[in-house]
Amino acid sequence: MTRASRREVRELRQQAREWRRGRADTTLMEVLSDAYIALFATCMLSAMAVSAVHQTRLSISASCTTTECTDARFSSAWVCVTAMIAVTLVAGRAVGPVQVSPAEGSWLLATPVDRAAVLRPRLGLVAAVTALCAAVAGSVASTLAGFGAPAIGLVAAAATASGIAAAMFAALVQPHDGWATRLLTWTLGVATWIALVLIAADAVPAAPTSAPWAITTGAAVTGAIWIGAAVLLVASARNLSRLHHNRLVPGGALLASLSGALAGLDLTVMYDILIAQKWLTRATVTPVRSGPKGPWALVWRDVIRLRRSVPSLVILAAAAVVPYLVVAVDLGALAVLAGALTLFVTGVPLCSALRTTNRNLGLMRCFPMPPETVRAACLVVPAALTGVWSLATLPAMHSATSATWGASLMIAAAMAVTALAAMARWILAPPPSYAQGLVASPAGGIPPGLAFSLLRGFDVLILATAPILISPTSTGAVISLLLATGVLGIVVRRN
């Protein structure tokens, strides 16, 4: 960078500071007070989180006594770190990872200042945020895996460096179409899945009885990862001036939309934004003009969607390993809840037609059938998939509950209907109404029940799986089925 461009960027920042001067709308005492509250809240929440992780570690140590469970527990730390790197790559690619807001894109990137100098603090922010998240993930995973303090420190350090390296790799290939990031993400995802399958099949290496490695070896490996991360950081920083406007602004616009939706605690709006973003990048499809008539036309369109959403389908299929994994780590009592939760989370992306018709009165009005018929038609394909998924996990249910095969089948069916009801509740829930009376809160007026909107779907999971958790028999399964079916009926028929 030339001396002149350095001065230009400095002058621009100085101008921004001068503009802000005299326009402050809070006093110094208010800022200090807010900072104190933020610091206090952070310390308190962190202490609670550390305590919860410690208690969970003790609880797992007490319950995980078999050799198989100990081996699985030891391997889980590495699986978590691998998955964390894959998630970092996905998130990095979705938002940039280097990004600017649309406003900054319009007036700042249009000026002849050195773009790399403008973007360098953004890259630093990406590295810092990733480092924090990766450090937390690494330390929690290694703590729950039962590692000792030095090993926890090393895994956390290695995870931090890996996270930074992943984010910087995504930034390095940001000027291109990102096939390298996609390839690496899928490779890591497949590796994670294979590791999970090995854990579930009890085919992982035996956990060492003493320290798994010499501290010096661990420190050397961690140091090597840090060197790699530093090299990628420098390379991506040197690459910043090559970033085109259209590789920077969409990520900023996406983040702004997502944060707006999050501010309203409306996760379904975040889902809409992500779905719209996904299809916007695709632009065209090969049209399919065939199928049955009447409500079945909607069902057939969902089948066509499956062909266009292969990654979602692959993730759903791969997630079938989760109930087996839960059984492998001696937590079979929670297999139904874990299965329903997994099915709920991985099944929601396959319900885009249900979401689109439900939030769009104009589109719903185009169909000749009543809204409940449209909703039911949009649930047929997700219901079929959840049914197949539950059948694939039947042996895990049988092993977890020790019930007869007939009762296990009913339990698996109850799990599928519960997950479907949870999906429908999450997707069809009405948005919070700001037109009605608001409840006073420290953050201002909020609609009553806003905070509970985050629990939608999860409440159905807890409610409908409770009978099976209490009594993993055919009786518990029937009660669970009745509850889930009732919820599904109410949610689908509600105006």
Partner: protein, 212 residues
């Protein structure tokens, strides 16, 4: 001799938001083969009236009848007769232009689906964009697609809220010709419009609302 009721009859329509009366005692009738345009400045309640008539909003008082029977948009029979394009129209993000029309035609179980869909696509000028996803269309093209959803399905009454929005001059000419063709086919049309030329060329009757 029995008198045939009008296709659409609205009597004493009233809509109140809090203390504000947006529509007071609105009466109107639309006969088959005729078009009624509602005009008026912003805030005069045109779109609210249309939403109340189409069943998207609940009137405080008044009756809306289709063919002499109360218009209940929940009824499948009413949904088959009523083609409504208001400003709340958006699309499936993962279905192409032609797939939207194909889906609606199939949902309405019409005959010769491919022929009808192709004809409508050609008519609205979106044949070249048949494989594109709605998110990549311009605002004018999205408006044409919204109008196409009304033309691809069976209908007896068209309810359109500012159909001229975002259309270019060629699009406005096409729209006027298309709506006149709909009238010749015996359909009733109720539209809200700010475009004087469109109103003049299409509407047989004009209802001017005053601001409140």
């Amino acid at each position: 001799m029995s008198q045939t009721p009008p296709l659409l009859r609205v009597r004493g329509l009233h809509r109140r938001f809090g203390d504000l009366d947006v529509i007071v005692d609105l009466d109107l009738e639309v006969d088959a083969g005729r078009a009624l345009a509602i005009t008026g400045p912003n805030g005069s309640g045109k779109s609210t009236a249309l939403r109340c008539i189409a069943g998207s909003d609940e009137p405080t008082a008044g009756t809306v009848e289709l063919d002499g029977k109360t218009l209940d948009e929940r009824s499948p029979a009413v949904r088959r007769d009523l083609a409504v394009v208001l400003d709340d129209m958006s699309f499936f993000p993962d279905l192409s232009v032609v797939e939207h029309l194909d889906l609606l035609a199939r949902a309405h179980s019409i005959e010769d689906i491919e022929g009808v869909v192709d004809a409508v696509l050609t008519d609205v000028g979106l044949l070249g964009q048949a494989g594109r996803l709605p998110g990549t269309l311009s605002s004018g093209q999205r408006r044409r697609l919204a109008l196409a959803t009304a033309f691809v399905r069976p209908r007896r009454l068209l309810i359109l809220d500012e159909p001229e929005q975002r259309l270019d001059s060629a699009g406005l000419t096409w729209l006027a010709e298309r709506l006149n063709a709909e009238k010749r086919d015996g359909l009733g049309i109720l539209l809200v419009s700010h475009d004087a030329a469109l109103v003049e060329s299409v509407a047989d009757d004009v209802l001017a609302l005053e601001p409140r």
